[in-house]
């Protein structure tokens, strides 16, 4: 009995710093965000009670729906893309080759670059007039692309940057996953004559399922939060074609001085991401159960 108490006591001691920071800087602000979302508030001056008015306004706000659709499109394209390329890089660099360590490190380099710096770099690549991107296109005999004036092209440019930054992370996680696959399984498969694509399809991919699951969840969460690159590269434009929910919330709260409205958008965003995560988790559990 004394052992139990000591254990619980140790648990409380060890978790108390975390609980303190999470309570003060996460749980309380989340609750306050909900509270703000029921008000009209400019950031300074007085708060005015609105009840659910902000949420009703959101329902009729075309820009909100555009931002939601943009976020969905962006996530649906960039998440699979960076995961697939990350897996490709991991498979390529898993087994020994000359300078393998260096190549791995280089693939990872874009990950460690700040979104702002990445934005600056790609501003130079995607500048429609003096950018090297269009220069290379012209030299290859292709038409120039108006990266910042055309909504679709601007979205492509944002996806390009985030994918560029996402591949390395996918690769490292997959490399770790590949390390966890026992050599014996491959050897057994070799006896059965499985090789190449078949071996990947039958052994590697299924055994990497938990890795993929983690990456999908993680990437969706981060892609719903992408901000810095957009802030530097497109400002959400042209028009609202690369405005995602976080940009919209930020813009409403800090540029338009509608902090209550921004909080309401934030609450909706939170619910969406939470729901997506739960759905994926459920799907995984069901699949694990059926295996």
């Amino acid at each position: 009995m004394a052992g139990r108490r000591a254990e619980a006591w140790a648990g409380v001691v060890l978790t108390s710093p975390a609980l303190l920071v999470f309570t003060v800087f996460m749980f309380v602000p989340i609750a306050l965000t909900f509270w703000y979302s029921l008000h009209r508030y400019s950031g300074f001056g007085r708060m005015r009670w609105l009840g659910l008015e902000n949420y009703r306004t959101i329902a009729d706000d075309p820009t909100f729906w555009t931002a939601l659709r943009n976020t969905a499109v962006f996530t649906a394209v960039s998440v699979p893309l960076s995961i697939a390329l990350g897996l490709g890089a991991a498979l390529l660099l898993n087994r020994w080759m000359p300078a393998r360590g260096l190549l791995r490190a280089l693939v990872y380099v874009p990950v460690v670059i700040s979104g702002v710096a990445a934005g600056v770099i790609f501003l130079r690549l995607f500048d429609p007039v003096t950018g090297i991107g269009n220069q290379l296109l012209t030299q290859a005999g292709l038409p120039e692309i108006n990266w910042q004036g055309n909504g679709a092209a601007a979205m492509v440019s944002v996806i390009a940057v985030t994918t560029w930054q996402g591949i390395g992370f996918g690769m490292v996680v997959y490399l770790a996953g590949l390390q966890g696959i026992p050599r014996e399984i491959y050897e057994a498969a070799a006896v059965d004559g499985a090789a190449g694509w078949r071996r990947f399809r039958r052994i590697t991919w299924p055994l990497l399922a938990p890795t993929t699951f983690f990456l999908v969840v993680y990437s969706i969460i981060t892609s719903f939060q992408v901000f810095d690159v957009v802030y530097v590269l497109t400002r959400g434009g042209p028009g609202t074609s690369t405005t995602f929910l976080v940009q919209y919330a930020y813009d409403q709260g800090f540029n338009q001085r509608r902090q209550g409205y921004a909080a309401a958008i934030g609450m909706i965003l939170y619910v969406i991401v939470l729901a997506l995560t739960i759905v994926q988790w459920r799907l995984r559990q069901r699949r694990d159960a059926s295996l």
Partner: protein, 438 residues
């Protein structure tokens, strides 16, 4: 010139009689706008502003002069233009606002309404405001109380690359307001420029982000109006608005406008012009020093009048300096604000940074502009074409929201040849309506 000529602007700014802004008699009356108090001060105040090199230098010089004259320190803090509003807001929220800050006329109202600014009635006295052009003096007031001083105004004209014009065989440009190009002539010029200068965009507008309202130049040139006379409802649902929208977009679809220069992104044409990738830009007078510094001897450039359609029109720009409610040193802040707009100091600032003064007694003065003084008369002339309705709207508290409606709406229309003009008019009307109600 019919609908929106010089007279309307004169009426709008309320300058008396035919003298008006550019011809106002100088006033020797020191009680208005003069330094009515001159005793020594102590302590310090912080003045937050955005600034290009010339503006920063001018403000620093004024702060040093103020220190010498009155004994109080002014700390000049320069922030990026895109961020200053956010940063000032954050500090207001934290009760750590600067004592004074620079703000566009269109933003004074919303700060005042939120109780962020200090009522300076006691510091100014009754006749202080008489020294300024009435429209701009009213722009720094809310509910009849003054919250700051009007500091300067600026406006747009056409800045062009002489070498590109020569190549296109265009040997002369309009030399007076009456001869300004019509839209047809203007489009013709752009077509010639395009043909003669491959790989170069003929033209770009300066309506980015907080400057989106500069598109209203085009609207008013077409004879359109933004708001009804009472400034209560949008008046955009008109053939003139459609014409202005279609004209603007046609420049993009015909390849006459730089494709990457739109409304929402901070791609400013004045930064591209020195690289000779754009032959002509609509640009504000305050850009002359930085253009001059960037272009140096690379090519010759000049300025001419904005194009016109049903009439001529240009925008009211410019900024005020306001004092915050939480100013730690209200006396110093208010006195510095007054110091900034004495006749000599306003003149010095305008000369150094090529902007237009807002004091009646400087309206007539010949200023010795520091950079390219040859160009300023065009801007001064062009300034007389600010439409009355636009000046009134631009100094109303809804204008920041109206500007935002443009930012959110224009790009989709301009960058998409199949976007419906009617839909855009409707979206603009909705946006303006929302801003008026907010």
């Amino acid at each position: 010139m019919s609908a929106v000529g010089r007279r309307t602007f004169l009426k709008a700014v309320g300058a008396a009689g035919a003298a008006g802004w550019l011809g106002a008699c100088s006033s020797d009356d020191d009680s208005g706008g003069g330094a009515s108090t001159s005793g020594p001060l102590s302590g310090s105040a912080t003045f937050t502003t955005w600034a290009n090199d010339q503006e920063a230098a001018a403000f620093k010089k004024l702060a040093a002069d103020f220190k010498a004259a009155r004994g109080a320190d002014i700390k000049i803090e320069v922030l990026p233009y895109d961020q200053i509003r956010t940063v000032v807001d954050r500090r207001l929220q934290a009760n750590e606002a600067p004592d004074l800050f620079r703000v566009s006329y269109t933003d004074v109202g919303s700060y005042a309404e939120n109780g962020a600014l200090a009522d300076l009635s006691d510091h100014f006295g009754d006749s202080f405001g008489d020294a300024f052009l009435p429209a701009l003096w009213s722009a720094v007031q809310s509910d009849g109380k003054p919250f700051g001083v009007p500091h300067h105004t600026d406006t747009s004209a056409l800045v062009y690359n002489k070498a590109h014009f020569a190549k296109a065989g265009i040997t002369s440009v309009p030399s007076s307001l009456d001869q300004a190009w019509t839209w047809e002539q203007f489009t013709d010029v752009l077509r010639k420029l395009k043909a003669a200068n491959p790989g170069v965009s003929p033209f770009a507008f300066n309506y980015q982000l907080f400057g989106a309202y500069r598109w209203f130049n085009t609207l008013y040139q077409a004879g359109g109006t933004l708001l009804d006379d009472a400034l209560e409802n949008p008046a955009l649902d008109s053939a003139q608005t459609r014409k202005a929208l279609e004209f603007t977009r046609s420049l993009y679809t015909e390849g006459l406008h730089a494709p990457s220069v739109l409304v929402k992104r901070p791609t400013y044409p004045d930064e591209i012009f020195p690289t000779q990738k754009i032959s002509m830009i609509q640009a504000g007078d305050f850009l002359i020093p930085s253009l001059d510094a960037a272009i140096k001897d690379k090519f010759e450039w000049g300025v001419t009048y904005l194009m016109r359609d049903a009439g001529a029109a240009t925008d009211l720009g410019g900024n005020a300096v306001v004092v915050t409610d939480g100013a730690k040193n209200l006396d110093v802040a208010a006195e510095f604000a007054k110091f900034l707009v004495t006749k000599e100091n306003m003149q010095a600032f305008c000369e150094r940074t090529t902007v237009l003064p807002v004091r009646k007694d400087l309206a007539d003065a010949k200023l010795a502009y520091a950079a390219r003084p040859d160009l300023m008369p065009v801007f001064q002339q062009q300034a007389t074409t600010m439409p009355e309705g636009l000046v009134k709207a631009a100094t109303s508290r809804a204008f920041a929201g109206i500007n935002q409606a443009l930012v959110d709406t224009m790009d989709q229309y301009l960058s998409n040849p199949s976007a419906g003009t009617d839909d855009t008019v409707r979206a603009l009307t909705d946006g303006v309506q929302k801003a008026l109600k907010a």
